[in-house]
Symmetry: C2
Subunit: 240 residues, 2 copies
């Protein structure tokens, strides 16, 4: 039975799982922009309505970190550097993945949602929540640069080869592209090690990293066009 | 060399680790209310300035979930139900622990911080952030009740014995006690299974669960007294 991956390439955790999944699997796009995650069928797979989710035989699993760990442990042929067997090395990877949740992800996903996705979908966004998200993001990028990437080595925690933590966190930073070129560079430019590390993860996962992120860049282009249209309409209204 | 646990019983993740740590360990209280986490010495252990952290020989580790997993894998005599060896069972535990970060913890810790800890420490708190935290908390409690506790069995995901996910998430719900009796009951009362499950985790970890939470109840009492004093002062001012 083939592994089924339910997700959408618009979602950072989905992209991390799909990049990793270059094994024999079936990608099922859940149309989250059209609310398909709320269907009865998807509820039977993921009662929390989250993406990504996987189905492997009887197992139904949500949460991208848990999925990545499961794929490393259950499928033959995954190189051990992605999730080493050594307890202490594994502990460091868990630590980075846990930190991701309440720091880098909260900041990056929070800022993208409040400044781009909510306004585009006519949902309210509050200034204080935007400010809080940007503060968390900048602190997280600084910690990423000065703590997780402090040790010699191209990858997180000083490893010479990437782990699932590198894949997951680099996909998170990549979603800042949705903010647009100007804001992306304003936010990222002080973090030289972070920028080099993204390139190292891209090289280590070529060609999948670029292939899966193509959707992000297409979506970004669509957003810019939509924003330009909305801005034009508002100018038109202002003249009336 | 004895395991060192750096933490403070005021912190939910610290309490979860200390309850679990009824092995031979040294508890080192980091005076987070006095800023001791920012000392040079603590920075050498936990550059992110977080609690809890452990030191086990050369290993320095932050993030309570990563610590709990490490303790299960590294110390002899830990019963296997806390973190089973089976890949699929382990995947479910990872999934619940990951969900904890961006749902239950974000809601519970967010609400306690914005409504209790920030005002008490003269830090600003914004209404929209309070509203967002309470919304996340209520949705999380509903998912805890209807998804993770849906299956028959006393514990998360339908297990007949507790895992580290039960310990971590129950400590999170317990911190809602800081909101005061009235709000605690207003928020928790619709969730019968959650309330029963807290009792089941308490029984399974007796006497440590109550012993470690004693600090929380003492702190809660102190908060009520401090709030009453502040309220008295404000009334005094209002009369002037």
């Amino acid at each position: 039975m083939v592994l089924k991956v339910y997700g959408h390439r618009i979602s950072e955790p989905s992209r991390a799982v799909i990049i990793f999944c270059k094994i024999d699997f079936e990608e099922i796009q859940v149309e989250v922009l059209k609310g398909q995650q709320f269907s009865k069928e998807y509820g039977a797979i993921a009662p929390m309505r989250q993406i990504p989710a996987i189905v492997d035989g009887h197992l139904k699993l949500i949460e991208s970190h848990a999925i990545l760990i499961y794929l490393c442990c259950s499928f033959p042929g995954v190189a051990s550097h992605w999730y080493p067997g050594d307890t202490q090395k594994r502990a460091k990877i868990h630590s980075i993945l846990d930190w991701h949740h309440s720091h880098l992800r909260r900041g990056a996903a929070g800022l993208v949602y409040t400044t781009i996705l909510a306004p585009l979908n006519d949902l309210r966004s509050f200034l204080q929540i935007v400010i809080q998200a940007e503060e968390i993001l900048l602190r997280s990028l600084s910690e990423l640069e000065n703590v997780w990437l402090k040790l010699d080595g191209s990858f997180l925690g000083g490893s010479s080869q990437p782990s699932i933590a590198d894949l997951s966190l680099s996909c998170e930073v990549m979603q800042l592209e949705l903010l647009g070129e100007k804001d992306y560079h304003r936010i990222l430019s002080p973090y030289k090690k972070v920028k080099k590390w993204i390139e190292d993860v891209r090289s280590a996962t070529t060609p999948y990293f670029d292939e899966i992120h193509e959707y992000l860049f297409e979506y970004q282009k669509g957003i810019r066009e939509q924003m330009a249209t909305q801005s034009g309409k508002n100018k038109g209204r202002a003249k009336m």
